[in-house]
């Protein structure tokens, strides 16, 4: 199979998964006990009134028609109307999405290089003291709940030292220093788990290659340790490392839910939590779909990079 066919296959399969995911989300949120019409009219409404509203909202149509409509709406950029805000879901989201993306981008920019550094140096030093220290500390970090990191961070940097704000303000023309100060704590809280996960997986991927016979061969040719990692290990570990990054970064999506709430950050994740508490189904569905698409997109990108980096697929 040519490399392009392979990539097209992967894209097609990701799209199919996304369609199935949307079906699952639709089915689950469609199972809501009591329906939106009842909810909106309250307990005192007569059955006729409820039926009329159901008809107006289109809730009396068969499920597959509503699913088709909904998917069509999402694809065309109109996933319905938010019941609570009483405005198009697209507008509500358009307000919040850039904030979450900014937070994620900052965290990625901070965690990726640091994790690579930690993971590779631990692997090169495997069994040594540095490796043991890094291994135990990342092991502890990986199991740390975000709100512990966040509350401790606030306690130390905001309450005791009064260095950083405990609420993250987003304004249009923040000066740079202000911008950095307000993002430090949320990025830090998100980063702890991501760094731990990413560096552990990077270490494992690098060690996996270091154990290969071709690395011993390179040692016996007199190649130095740094050159071995650069020339021999990294080209082979790139697939697993990229995959590790995608998986760890996808963790950001979940972590953001807690962190945005703690720091009162006007992002997509806190919007989704609001949608859950206010039972705003269209908004909830749309948020869930964005997070799932982001997750699938990350994994797809990792797969494609791994395919492109694999010389066995290149040189048929």
């Amino acid at each position: 199979m040519s490399i392009y066919r392979l990539i097209l296959n992967r894209i097609a399969s990701a799209l199919l998964t996304l369609l199935l995911v949307s079906l699952v989300i639709f089915i689950i949120s469609d199972l809501l006990p009591g329906d939106a019409a009842q909810e909106m009219l309250g307990q005192s409404a007569t059955p006729e009134q409820v039926a009329a509203l159901r008809h107006d909202l289109g809730l009396d149509r068969p499920a597959y028609v509503r699913f088709g409509d909904w998917v069509g709406g999402i694809v065309s950029g109109d996933p319905g109307t938010s019941m609570v805000a009483n405005m198009p879901v697209a507008e509500v989201i358009a307000d919040r999405l850039p904030n979450t993306l900014r937070l994620a981008a900052l965290t990625a920019a901070f965690t990726v290089p640091l994790s690579l550094l930690i993971g590779i140096s631990a692997a090169m030093n495997r069994g040594g003291r540095l490796d043991r220290v890094l291994s135990i500390s990342t092991l502890a970090m990986v199991a740390m709940p975000e709100f512990l990191v966040a509350t401790l961070g606030v306690l130390i940097f905001s309450v005791k030292l009064r260095l950083l704000p405990s609420i993250t303000m987003v304004t249009a023309d923040q000066p740079w220093g202000e911008f950095l100060r307000s993002y430090t704590l949320p990025v830090l809280s998100l980063s702890v788990v991501v760094i731990a996960q990413m560096s552990r997986m990077t270490r494992a991927a690098v060690i996996d290659q270091l154990n290969q016979p071709y690395v011993e061969m390179a040692v016996l040719k007199g190649v130095g340790p740094v050159a071995i990692v650069r020339r021999h290990v990294l080209p082979n570990a790139i697939g697993p490392i990229i995959n590790a990054m995608a998986l760890s970064l996808s963790y950001l999506l979940g972590g953001a839910i807690i962190v945005e709430t703690i720091f009162n950050y006007p992002g997509l994740a806190s919007l989704m939590v609001n949608a859950v508490t206010s039972r705003d189904t269209p908004l909830l569905q749309a948020c869930a779909m964005i997070f799932c698409s982001a997750y699938l997109l990350l994994l797809l990108a990792a797969d494609i990079i791994a395919i492109l980096a694999n010389p066995r697929l290149h040189n048929k």
Partner: protein, 525 residues
Amino acid sequence: MAYLEVNHLCVKADTGKTIVHDASFSLNKGEVLALIGESGSGKTTIALSLMGYARRGTHIAGGDVRLGEAHLKDLPALRGNRIAYIAQSAAAAFNPSLNIMDQVIEAALVHRIMDRAQAEAKAIELFHALALPFPDTIGQRYPHQLSGGQLQRLMAAMAFITDPDLVILDEPTTALDVTTQVEVLRAFKQVVKDRGATAVYVSHDLAVVAQMADHIVVLNHGEIKEQGTTAEILHAPKDDYTKLLMAAAEPTNRVVVDALVQPVPLLEVRGVNASYGNRPILKDINFTMQRGAMLGVIGESGSGKSTLARVIAGLVVPTSGEVRLAGDILPAALSAREQEHFRRVQIVFQNASTALNPAHDVAQILARPLAFYHQLKGEAAQKRLLALIDMVKLPASVLTRRCTELSGGQIQRINLARALAAEPELVLCDEVTSALDTVVGAAILDLLAELRRELNLSIMFISHDISTVRAICDDIMVLYQGAVVEHVRGSDFDQVRHHDYTELLLSSVPELRAGWLEERKARTA
């Protein structure tokens, strides 16, 4: 003064276990020394320590290695420069992400011996010398595009790129088919001779070593048992272990008298074709095996010999053809077979480490077929268990063990006992001795011959090793690329005119004497 001198070398595992104990030997410039031994003998460990290298979890605990003026501590700096290494499995020792040329010339560039253009020219010259195909462009290829034999020769080019003083060859042909091995051996011998290199050749195969070495060092369990010139070791071995090795390497005839074979067909295979996806593996296989016979099936990797066993056992469904057992058709799919079909055909696999379920002890493993096929329980089952264990010559104490506590040879015996527990008519043995050391394997062959005589078993013995098959089977079938190219009675084997491929196989098996490689070359030229 000797050029290479190893003095009282000790290598230990970090846990304290001794791997090599007090090894001393020496070698003059331009000579080839062989380290020979079975798995766990410490031969590779010694070879690596000649470069001042110890694998993870081990360390050089004492003694010295001297190469010219350089001592143990100086050796790491000479790696890839004055000392070069050729690894066992070239397929694994080449980096899959780099092209061949980059890897072949890497050592020369790392040690700044020459610039890239010079190194590439030198590499191409070596490719020519090693008789590689497309020597001018093969460097641009990647490892996955080349065969095992080609990679092994490319690894020699990689070793000789810096004109090293000492070359270490670590089982360089073990992973190859026998017909490929001859070509590679010849290329190695030529290049070692032409460049006047001093070489250390590590192997478990005495016959191969006889072709390559001037001196032989025999190792067992990390200790040197005997050393001397090749002629001394081959013609007048003094140590008992060396004698044992020699005996196991010389094929002894274990064929039982023809009287055991009854003129009744037991297994009939008619027009069997099988494929994986679109790739045909078996092409129109037809043969008949008599009751009580031992049929040897020979083939190299990819010949379809294992697939044939799996078709008969029902694990692979053929695309066409039929298999009959004593006249009854064996349904192709497992799901269509009945209890009696299962009982009558038993299969024994090669790999000792995956042959027995590590979750069960030996008694549980053997009791299952007894209960399943023969409804034996309690006292009767216990008696039968002990009889089975005795049959494969193991002590009753193994019954309570799990396979993780047993050696490869013991596992293979339990494996046989499980098959015998069913009281089968036909036993399929798929490379049952290939993963074992020669001495252990020879004992299993003796056992097979004996069981056959006592239980009047019919055995299909699958192997890549033509000398083993000749020694033990009374019916020999040769598979080549999925087709039967020859099927003869063992007693007629020496008289008939063979198929070309069989001839090639026969002439490729190294003989246990010096000079065979040169004679063969003269013969085939």
